[in-house]
Amino acid sequence: MIIEHPVPMFAKWIGPAALTWLLSLGILIGVFELIRLVFLLSRNGLHGFTLFFTTFFKGIDDFCFISWRRVWAITKLIIRESIRKKVVVVCIVFLVLLMFASWFLNPNTTDPAKTYVSFVFQSTTYLVILLALFLSSLSLPADFKNKTIFTIVTKPIRPSEIILGRILGLTIIGTVILCIMSIASYLFVTNSLSHTHRLNEREDLTPVASADDPRNQDGETVIAKGTLQLSNGHKHNVEEYVRKEGDKLVYTFNVSQENNHTHSITREVDGDNVRYIVGPEQGTVQAKVPVYGNISFRDASNYERSRGINVGEEWTYRSYVAGATSEAVIWTFDHLDASKYPDGLPIEMSISVFRTTLGNIESTIMGSILVRNPKTGLTAETNVFNSEKYITKALMIPRTIEKSKVESQPRALIKKGMESSYEPLPGNFVQKDSYDLFEDFVDDGKLEIWLQCIERGQYFGAAQYDLYLRDNDANVLVNFFKGYLGIWQQMIFVIAFGVLFSTFLSGPVAMVSTFGIVIAATFKSFFMEIANLNVLGGGPIESLNRLITHESLMIDLPNVFSTSLIKFFDMIASALLWIIGNAIPSFSNYTIYMDYVATGYNIPFNTILVHLVTTLSYVIPLFIAGYLILKNREIAK
């Protein structure tokens, strides 16, 4: 799975992040209070100081003495309002959508789970965000319009309680709807992908060897070949094996992987008839738990590098190593425990292949996996494989490594000036007959896995997260619901912004403003590129000028006064955009949850924790801003 922006570890991140957050919040509140002080002084003279400090301390009271009974009163009101205004219709719309979705979604693709999961996540996101947008931005303005707010603010309720109650109420409604949608989505995905095949002995299987011959009863000789009958638009190839266990013959089957899944088969004998029972699909929706290592590279001169070769790709996520050289991509893993991997290390990789000679375009490129003890330098080539571009390859590094696969000379990482180089250790190395992966190659839980390209003129490209060890899979159902946390957090943002805008704007204007935030949050990276003036054609004013004058994006503007003026205003605009951009969350942080579930990876707890705290860090200032606006505005007109 591609992780361009890795989430930092919570324990390391929280300290500096909290400090920056507190500083930013302090500056924002400080600026607001300063403006308020100047306003009060201009209106009331020196008495303004008294008024300022009285209201300032009252403001602190408004947060310290929040009555949860009053907050709950508003929360309950919002929930009742939503229910009685038939918000549940959104769920019905979603269910109708699911009813017809199967007409248009094709289960016969290489990864049907991805198609189905992406569909349910995206449709849920749109519906829930639209719902949150409408509810949050229209509710408070409706109270102002109907003047029901008069009967509320004339009770001893604080503005902080009104805002908090609203955010909580809308969050509860949104959460319940999201829960209903997520359950419906899970049932839809599992039900749509659930299938089995039929296997008839006479029609579908062709015997290739006699099962009665004791020579074939080794569990490795194929005794019959065939295909499972068509179901969900695909077939699987099947091979039948037999082996003798005591007096009994045990039949096993190898079912080919199609559309990212396989099936189990059991053989039953009923008199003279043989029946094959094909089990449900396995591995369609997964929650793989990858264990990542740290990446480094070895160049052709054996030096250790942080990056490999640049093959000229614009996207610099991966860097490359050349084939048939000593270049290698190295992943160093920590905390490996032998008891966890009794049969060896299961690894998966999804690497890029860059061909300088095409040859047969359909042929794969050979590569090899080596393991190296970081301390002793003992190195062994454990696997040779064929690699296709971006196809996830699963390999098993065996626990026992034969003598022939171990390199005769260990390699040590030797410091040379400011750099380090992998050099064969001098002296004679005494070899054993066989090696144990954990005893001989893992040192204090550490192991290096090297990836090399074998073919000359071809390159392998890899990034940190392209090769990983597989831990025990997580629960698919739990992971599915964890995925919905991404949508939930986006919903919370929309609610918080909607409530904030609704404290000072009319309903439609608040809605459009919140929608603007949703757009900016969805395309935040582009927004920030404009703010940093990194876009072709310059900033907003320069772009407008180019639009009007039909000037090409590639040509610099002439060096005249008007250009300087345009650049000056673009600087101001970009500064403003930069401030706004930094105050807006990035929704791409949350859409990655869908990618995790769709591609079958477990969402790490650390990612969820960091994102939840980030969400809260946005909601708190928005809540405070909403409070300040409501407190300082006239309720009546």
């Binding site: 309950k76 309002e81 029901t148 603010v153 001893p156 006239e634 009546a636």
Partner: protein, 298 residues
Amino acid sequence: MRTESNIVVETKNLTKIYRDFWGRQKVRALKALDLEIRQGEVFGLLGPNGSGKTTTIKLLLGLLFPTSGEINILGRPASDVTKNEHIGYLPEESYLYRFLNAEETLDFYGRLFSMSGAVRRQRVAQLISMVGLESAKKRQLREYSKGMSRRLGLAQALINDPDLILLDEPTSGLDPIGTRNMKDLILELKNQGKTVIMSSHLLADVQDVCDRIGILYQGELKELGRVDDLLKVSTETELRVSNLSDAAKEKIQKVIQEDNGELVFCGNPTSSLEELFLKIIAESESRPGKRVRGGEDK
């Protein structure tokens, strides 16, 4: 006895100017209002539409911010939300949530006073009974008539058993029975020692219940004082006598002439239409059926 301590509401030089988006003055709604309202009195704010009555009430409640001047309400500034713990407010129209029923509405407002569940339930039942909405307490407010909404609005204003009650046009939208009930309730609140401030342009209502009135016109306080004193015509004398013979009437007229007095009116007084209406309704309730007309068309 007038003391500082029993002044419940005090405004000094209270001014409100409405401005447009650009800060330009649109209208001067209230001009330098000085007012003192004491505990236990029923004070009426009188004036034509747009005279500043509602603006004054909104300023007292903190719904509007004064352009200049000071407000002291129950010893606190108007911007202090804790003052609302002892205040009940009935707006000029019942601004209630139409998707709630009566019980839910009152329960909601009770929660805003942080009342416990038991107290809330008791108070809600008591107020619903008081305003006569028992049979409709489970119906959503969207099905309520204007009068029913108004009664529920009054109940919400009294949910906290307030010391100070502000009623903005309390009799607007009410039928004569509702109007009479409202007036009776105001007098009942006064008997309980509560302070009531009401605004109205229905002069008869104000006259019936208010101890003191202030008359506003174009944002300025034009008159302030006790109703009795303000309405007393000191140059005229009124006698109300029952069963007086025509001979006796003539004697009285003669005495008036001898003392150089001027007889302005001598005849049978008429009751008010309100009194007649209430009498008919009371009779109809006690004796259902077609009513025998008490008068004749002439």
